[in-house]
């Protein structure tokens, strides 16, 4: 896949300040999984997994279904807690964080496999609600959402609700939502899983651009080896273990 060539970002792309929060010193990993295990009853979703993600790095996590890819990503997103081991952000154990809401809001940007946009809100509002709880006012949130929609070539779709958009458009809105608060890391769970090859290429082109020009740190889960090959590093999971 020629990622860069597929990137068809709008003219406004270079004018938008994404301001990714890549504040972590080069020596300190942005994200770390240290001997992480996750058990669902008798089922071991993750077993003593260790992974370190450096600032500005694009890591792809691959593996067959049920291998623990999404579980690992959800630990990084702090939407789940590990049964054992620890998950660290910029060296700090997330278990010691009092306000994981803030971590989820500011430090990481989640792109879900099924976009998880709210169907009753239009594209712009779906982005704006991610900025609730920040210090940005109404107008600033609106401006930011407009900028991000422009960056992802979705200006025309700003007033469209998810059911009225294509799969690729929905996923790009989800990426825009993930970028809303200029996170340090983008966490993408099968971002191309529900898309056709052209749509998938477009999404990967977006990530490629964010990674190259904005220095975005990306952790992307995919079962597609070709998609994974766009990343700096590919991690293989199988049976809950990193191999």
């Amino acid at each position: 896949m020629t990622h860069a060539s597929n990137a068809s970002m709008g003219q406004g792309e270079s004018q938008v300040a994404l301001g990714m929060n890549a504040e972590s010193p080069a020596s300190t990993p942005v994200l770390e999984a240290v001997n992480v295990g996750v058990d669902y009853g008798e089922f071991h979703a993750l077993v003593a997994a260790n992974l370190s993600v450096a600032p500005g790095e694009w890591v792809a996590v691959t593996g067959p279904s049920g291998s623990g890819k999404s579980t690992l990503l959800q630990l990084f997103a702090a939407v789940d807690q590990p049964t054992s081991g620890s998950v660290r952000f910029q060296g700090e154990d997330l278990a010691n964080r009092r306000h994981l809401d803030r971590y989820r809001r500011i430090e990481v940007g989640n792109v879900f496999q099924l976009h998880n946009l709210l169907p009753h809100l239009d594209a712009k509002r779906n982005i704006e609600i991610a900025m609730f709880g920040t210090h940005q006012g109404r107008q600033a949130r609106s401006d930011r959402a407009t900028d991000l929609l422009s960056l992802l070539e979705l200006t025309a779709q700003a007033g469209h609700k998810p059911p009225d958009m294509s799969g690729g458009e929905r996923q790009r809105v989800a990426i825009a939502r993930a970028l809303a608060n200029s996170p340090a890391v983008i966490l993408a769970d099968e971002p191309t899983g529900s898309l056709d090859p052209a749509g998938a290429a477009n999404i990967i082109a977006v990530f490629d651009r964010l990674h190259r020009t904005e220095g975005a740190t990306i952790v992307m889960v995919t079962h597609d080896r070709e998609v994974a090959s766009a990343a700096d590093r590919v991690i293989q999971l199988e049976g809950g273990r990193i191999i």
Binding site: I106, E128, Q139
Partner: protein, 392 residues
């Protein structure tokens, strides 16, 4: 990275709106998106509010209507038997009336006998007032047509103008009450609906018919100029331990326990209406919560705090409450309007909607909304985002 380069600020949003989405705007939007659910939930709140407001209005109306009997005659206060179950069962003897009249400070004391009969199915509680002709004027009765009845005439009656109007009677007509034919000799007005919807006849006639010789139901007292009403009341109560004086509608319970029971029944019924409302609305909100678990999970996953999610659900509940309050007051108004015109209650109910009723509706609706939303909103706030996102 070109950190300072930003696109021009749009003046209008893509939907033609200026500015962005506010938190309150999101709440309103959510309610508008789920119109049917919002309307049905608001309807449940409205029905409970309607019950609370209607019960309050009706009870207040009954109280004030009943208390009008006591305030007849431009009296300073009224004397009746203490703590009877119903004012109509009060017995004040002629001797006591005389004793009251001789109390220092009393200018006049008029004994009045009050009874009810079933005139016809539409008027099951038609009021008869027995009073001597010479006491009519002090009692505040104005004869507007014909003349007053004779003190010794057993078949003469006067009708209040509302009663005459309702029955199509005029001076010279006859009316059968309790199997006895009376001749309408006059039409009167007192300015009070209760009395103007009743009949008046000679005290002796009514005493004979009711087999209550030498007794009246209540005594209307006026004090001499400059006398202390409270001192006169105290003197009368001290001299007549089984009697109570009543000066205002709020004191009515001293002589009529029914009204106290009515007040208690009203409070109880209102609480039951509120509880039923809370249960219905909570059920609807819990169903809504289950349907929206994934939505809440997404919001938590993108960084919404528990308190913000709590605020969203409670905010939606308050929005529904406001809608329910508005509809509830409207429903209550229509219901009481209909009841006022329901023939057995005509003349008894005089529902008055005041600002107090609107506040009651608002308080009741918000109480229902918040209590009903408390559990669902707490569950929403306590959701674990990971588990919520895995939910199909």
């Amino acid at each position: 990275m070109q950190e300072n380069a930003r696109l021009p600020t749009p003046q209008m949003g893509p939907n033609g709106e200026s500015g962005g989405l506010s938190f309150v705007g999101l709440i309103v939007h959510n309610l508008g998106t789920r119109r049917v659910r919002t309307a049905l939930t608001a309807l449940a709140v409205a029905i409970a509010v309607m019950a609370v407001v209607t019960l309050g209005v009706l009870t207040d109306s009954l109280k004030s209507s009943a208390a009008e009997v006591l305030s007849a005659g431009n009296a300073d206060f009224t004397v009746a038997q203490k703590s009877v179950s119903d004012l109509l069962n009060s017995v004040v003897t002629d001797t006591q009336v005389t004793k009251i009249a001789s109390t220092p400070g009393v200018a006049s004391a008029v004994g009045v006998l009050v009874a009810t009969i079933k005139l016809d199915p539409a008027h099951p509680l038609f009021l008869e007032i027995g009073i001597t002709p010479e006491s009519l004027s002090p009692f505040g009765v104005h004869v507007v047509a014909g003349s007053a009845y004779d003190a010794t005439a057993p078949d003469e009656v006067m009708l209040g103008w509302q009663a005459a109007d309702a029955f199509g009677k005029k001076v010279g007509s006859s009316i059968v009450m309790d199997g006895i034919r009376f001749r309408v000799v006059g039409i009167y007005s007192t300015g009070q609906v209760f009395a103007d919807s009743a009949s008046m006849m000679s005290l002796a006639t009514l005493q004979a018919r009711e087999r209550k010789p030498a007794t009246v139901t209540l005594t209307v007292v006026r004090v001499t100029k400059g006398a202390s009403i409270e001192r006169v009341r105290a003197a009368i109560e001290e001299a007549n331990p089984n009697l109570a004086t009543v000066r205002s509608a709020t004191e009515y319970g001293r002589v009529d326990r029914n009204l106290q029971f009515l007040g208690a029944a009203q409070t109880g019924s209102q609480i039951i209406a509120l509880v039923i409302g809370v249960i219905i609305v909570m059920n609807t909100m819990l169903l809504s919560f289950v349907e929206r678990i994934r939505e809440f999970g997404v919001l938590r996953a993108i960084g919404w705090s528990r308190s913000r999610l709590l605020g969203l659900v409670l905010g939606e509940a308050i929005g529904i409450s406001f809608l329910g309050a508005g509809f509830g007051v409207g429903f209550a108004f229509v219901l009481t309007w209909g009841l006022e015109r329901f023939s057995p209650l005509r003349g008894i109910l005089q529902a008055q909607f005041t600002a107090g009723e609107v506040w009651t509706a608002l308080y009741a609706a918000i109480a229902i909304g918040l209590l009903a939303a408390l559990y669902p909103s707490a569950r929403a706030a306590m959701l674990r985002p990971g588990a919520s996102l895995r939910r199909e």
